[in-house]
């Protein structure tokens, strides 16, 4: 295996990862990300923690310092298995605030401080530089292990490695400006690489234990021998070093930009941590378990002076296992690649968001008087800024690699990075747990701690400063790191206690410490880089409905559902314009400046503006509502008045009719009774007048009966007494009754007796009332020479019953047919026989009450009425409805 063919294999491997990431990105874009969005992918992506340092350096670490290498695994293991609730909290709060990086989280917690974000970014870049250098160095070292005099290593191989990794990071990390900063393709590639590096490492371990040594017992014996030879009393355990290293590695798994990125930013939800809580420590255990066997066997069989950092590779090579060595190389390459790519993506986001864009906004603010730029400028600027940042970060790593001479032990470079980034830890933990932590306290702590770290750890690691002198008996590294962290924590606590937080900080601290959504915080609406916060502010200014609609349309125009559009430059520009329409251009610009991450206007100012505008709008809307309500009430009153007027007119007409119908018989009664009081009235006159009085009194009684009947029917208070009856019997009784009531003329009755034998379910008294009324009317009004009444009965198609009653008289004129069922419908008929004009109105009410109908059938020769009965009486509800009318 020549270095050239290894490079070719690496290129092929990178190409494979390209394809995989590309396919995953496409699937995600097509909405098929869900099936890949599994806890196992998340857990595997966390293995980005195991960089080339872990892959190669752990064995070297073990060879040099014994068991101390375990601290690198113990820290994350303790954090994941012991403090998973804390991680859940971290993920929940971070997702709630849509943070894009550790710098974003810290600055967001401390009042969206742009300075703090820039500072954390600086630490991230400083700490990552040796770390990236370490990856480049490990790949170069690994390549050099394959080099032979015939096949020399290509010159500047690390440059090409760096450029290749930068290309990968740029291609997949800066494709677009995703609002959630998630990179599905990269995550899938990392997960696959996690499997490759684990498989390679386990393969070497298995080969070493069973292929080179004689199984576990032999390996254990070698470990015993080595520990004895190392110090006589076994491997020394330096407590302050162990404590410091476990603390650092535990912090690293949360605060390293790449770890924060996979742990928090790429997490779709906090439940991912349920599986990762045990699976990630298990992954680390597998990786760490085989370190010691490889270290002791390597020390035993490899020539003295061989670099322990390369035992993993040298062992299979020394046995001529080129295929295994190639796999190991690819495993190490995977470790380096995933670390560099994710670090570059995370750091470039931080640099772009917290360095370059605020700088640009500041310049833009200065040039505000000049012509406005296109809104898309910002998006392109962001992407280009990130690409530049990736090149810069990886370039800096390469430079550090060159400057450190490529000789430093891998583990030392890793701990430099860890201890630098750990300066963020106090601010992070205090920010999540202590509401009293303030922005100034956090800045003081981070600045103080980082200064000490720079002087005592970072610069000495570059050889630019001498190692600090520590009191005797104290490990220089542990002492420097603990000092830096202690100063950091002390400054944070002291300054926070003396400080008073600003309104924005208080809002954010409430949200972070109690893990409540910022929207739920009282008085929220502070300007923020989250669309929710903009929506809340817009809601206060424009009213919730209008704001929701505006945001929904914006989201729709971006091809998104819901109410939260991406904060694209175009959206923000439109939003600023809309704001200007509400609060004025100056305030809107100030607000947007704030959104851009810069100070200038205090949150309380903005809250006040929003409050006033919202109050004015509220008052205005209340007035509009009130006047609209008044108009509605007025319209309702007008309508009611018209209805009442119409009802009143109807009532007057009705009372007039009743008055007339009552006064008419009363007039006769009064006149004739006065005659009766005269003593000299002839006897025969007396008898006749008494008869008239009697008849007229009967007429009044009938009228009152009819009126009562009608009012009961119309009010829906009539009681239905249904039963099953033979229609023939009812018709017989009706004919007898009507004949008795209107005797005098002989009517021919034509019936089909057989057809009358139909069972009907109805209220027989009410149906009889209708039949008698109609037959009596026929007898009264039929003026034919040979009067006759025809009665036809039949079942209707719907199962009901129809009764037609017709006479051979003149019938009712077309104009009057519509009136006959009205109350007091006095037809212009001098021949009417004393009826008050209520009979057919009552018939109509009764038939409706029975669920049927009565209708006049025109064109039947004489007057013809059709009485229709339903199969069974209608339910009560209909009558209730009538009553309601």
């Amino acid at each position: 295996m020549t270095p050239e063919s290894l490079v070719a294999a690496s290129v092929a491997y990178v190409a494979l990862m390209f394809l995989l990431a590309h396919a995953a990105d496409r699937a995600a874009a097509a909405g098929r990300w869900r099936w890949m969005d599994r806890p196992v992918i998340y857990t595997l992506s966390l293995s980005v923690y195991c960089s080339a340092w872990t892959f190669y350096g752990a064995v070297g670490y073990a060879s040099r310092s014994g068991l101390e290498f375990l601290t690198i695994y113990l820290g994350p293991g303790i954090v994941f298995s012991g403090a998973w609730w804390g991680l859940r909290r971290l993920v929940r709060v971070a997702r709630m605030h849509r943070v894009t990086s550790i710098a974003d989280l810290i600055s967001s917690r401390f009042g969206k401080s742009a300075g703090l974000a820039a500072l954390v970014t600086l630490i991230g870049v400083m700490a990552a530089t040796p770390y990236i250098a370490l990856q480049l160095q490990s790949v170069s070292m690994a390549l050099s292990a394959f080099a032979t005099p015939e096949h020399a290593l290509p010159r500047n191989v690390s440059v090409w490695v760096a450029l290749g990794l930068a290309a990968f990071a740029i291609l997949f990390g800066t494709r677009n400006l995703a609002v959630d900063e998630r990179h599905h393709g990269v995550v899938i590639a990392i997960a696959v690489e996690a499997v490759v590096k684990l498989a390679a490492f386990v393969a070497v371990g298995v080969f070493v234990i069973w292929g080179i040594a004689d199984g576990p017992a032999d390996v254990l014996a070698r470990i015993d021998r080595m520990s004895v030879s190392a110090g006589g009393e076994g491997w020394p355990i330096n407590p302050e070093r162990w404590f410091t290293l476990i603390l650092l590695s535990g912090a690293a798994v949360m605060v390293l930009p790449r770890m924060f990125h996979v742990l928090v930013v790429e997490a779709s939800d906090e439940d991912r941590l349920r599986q990762a809580g045990w699976a990630f420590p298990a992954y680390l255990a597998l990786m760490s378990f085989l370190v010691l066997p490889i270290a002791v066997v390597g020390a035993d069989i490899l020539p003295k002076g061989a670099n322990p950092d390369l035992y993993v590779l040298d062992l299979p090579l020394s046995q001529g296992r080129e295929a295994l060595a190639t796999l190991v190389f690819l495993g190490g390459f995977s470790s380096a690649m995933s670390m560099v790519v994710v670090s570059a993506i995370a750091l470039s986001t931080m640099m772009a968001n917290h360095w370059l864009v605020p700088l640009w906004l500041r310049l833009r603010q200065a040039a505000l008087a000049g012509p406005a730029r296109a809104p898309e400028d910002l998006g392109t600027l962001m992407l280009n800024a990130r690409r530049l940042a990736i090149l810069a970060i990886i370039g800096a790593g390469w430079l550090y690699h060159r400057m450190s001479g490529g000789t430093s032990a891998l583990a030392a470079m890793g701990t430099v990075a860890f201890s630098g980034m750990a300066q963020v830890l106090p601010a992070l933990v205090a920010g999540l747990l202590w509401r009293g932590a303030t922005r100034r306290g956090a800045i003081a702590g981070v600045v103080g701690g980082t200064l000490i770290w720079t002087l005592l750890v970072f610069l000495p690691s570059l050889g630019l400063l001498a190692q600090p002198a520590m009191p005797a008996g104290i490990d220089p590294f542990a002492g420097a790191v603990l000092l830096a962290l202690a100063v950091n924590l002390l400054l944070l606590v002291l300054i926070s206690l003396m400080d008073f937080p600003e309104p924005a900080e208080r809002l954010q601290s409430l949200s972070f410490v109690h893990a409540v959504a910022p929207d739920a915080a009282p008085g929220d609406g502070a300007p923020a880089v989250q669309p929710e916060a903009l929506l809340t502010l817009a809601g206060r200014l424009w009213g919730n409905d209008h704001a929701l609609e505006t945001f929904r349309r914006a989201a729709e125009s971006q091809g998104k559902g819901g109410y939260l559009p991406d904060l694209t430059p175009r959206f923000l520009a439109d939003f600023e314009r809309l704001l200007a329409g509400t609060v004025g251009a100056a305030t809107a610009a100030a607000l947007m400046t704030r959104v851009g991450g810069r100070g200038g206007v205090t949150v309380s100012d903005l809250m006040e503006v929003a409050g006033e505008a919202s109050r004015a709008r509220e008052d205005n809307r209340r007035l509009e509502n009130t006047s609209a309500e008044l108009a509605r009430t007025a319209a309702m009153l007008r309508e009611s008045n018209e209805k009442l007027t119409a009802l009143s007119a109807q009532k007057d007409a009705f009372l007039g009719q009743i008055s007339h119908e009552l006064r008419t018989p009363m007039t006769s009664i009064r006149a004739f009774s006065e005659f009766l009081m005269e003593p000299d009235l002839p006897t025969e006159e007396r008898a006749r007048f008494a008869g008239i009085i009697h008849d007229e009194a009967g007429r009044m009684t009938r009228l009152l009966d009819d009126l009562l009947d009608l009012s009961v029917l119309e009010a829906g208070k009539a009681r239905l007494k249904p039963g099953v009856f033979n229609l023939h019997d009812l018709i017989e009784r009706a004919l007898a009754s009507a004949g008795a009531a209107a005797s005098g003329r002989d009517f021919a009755i034509r019936r089909n007796i057989a057809a009358e034998h139909l069972p009907v379910i109805t209220d027989q008294d009410r149906l009889l009332q209708v039949l008698i009324n109609v037959i009596t009317n026929a007898r009264k009004y039929c003026s034919a020479e040979a009067p006759q009444i025809r009665i036809d009965c039949r079942r209707s198609p719907d199962g009901g019953t129809e009764i037609d009653i017709a006479d051979n008289g003149p019938g009712i004129s077309a104009g009057n047919q519509a009136l006959i069922f009205e109350k007091f419908a006095r037809l212009n008929d001098p021949a009417r026989a004393g009826g008050a004009g209520l009979g057919l109105a009552i018939c109509k009410e009764i038939m409706e009450f029975l669920g049927g109908s009565i209708a006049y059938l025109p064109g039947q020769g004489g007057a013809c009425f059709r009485i229709s009965l339903p199969p069974r009486p209608a339910r009560r509800a209909e009558n209730d409805e009538n009553a309601a009318r």
Partner: protein, 118 residues
């Protein structure tokens, strides 16, 4: 025999009572039972006064009264209006109004007064 009073009334029993009263007082009385043709009947009989019911089949008493007052030949004819709807909203043009039911003595007094004027 000259017609002193023409009674336009559709209720047979009321018409009989009015006729009974007037005939006993010695007035000549004719009756017409509906609104239709009432005006022609008045012209044909040329009574000295008119007793007019307000609610009639065919044409109402108010319509007949209006026609009467519009006709120069009949404008001065004394008219007693009988109303079964009280005395509110009565048409103009009647010399006297009696609401139904009325006292026989009132009817006699009003008729005598109107006939003495005529």
């Amino acid at each position: 025999m000259s017609v002193d009073v023409l009674l336009i009334e559709d209720e047979p029993s009321i018409a009989e009572a009015v006729r009974f009263i007037l005939t006993r007082d010695g007035w000549g009385c004719e009756q017409w039972p509906e609104g239709t043709g009432a005006l022609e009947r008045i012209r044909a009989l040329a009574p000295r006064m008119l007793i007019l019911d307000l609610m009639l089949p065919g044409r109402s008493g108010a319509e007949i009264l209006a026609d009467l007052r519009a006709d120069p030949a009949l404008a001065a004819l004394p008219v007693l209006l009988l109303s079964a709807r009280g005395t509110a909203n009565l048409p103009p043009g009647a010399d006297r109004v009696l609401p139904k039911p009325f006292a026989n003595a009132d009817l006699r007094a009003v008729v005598r007064e109107l006939l003495e004027q005529a």
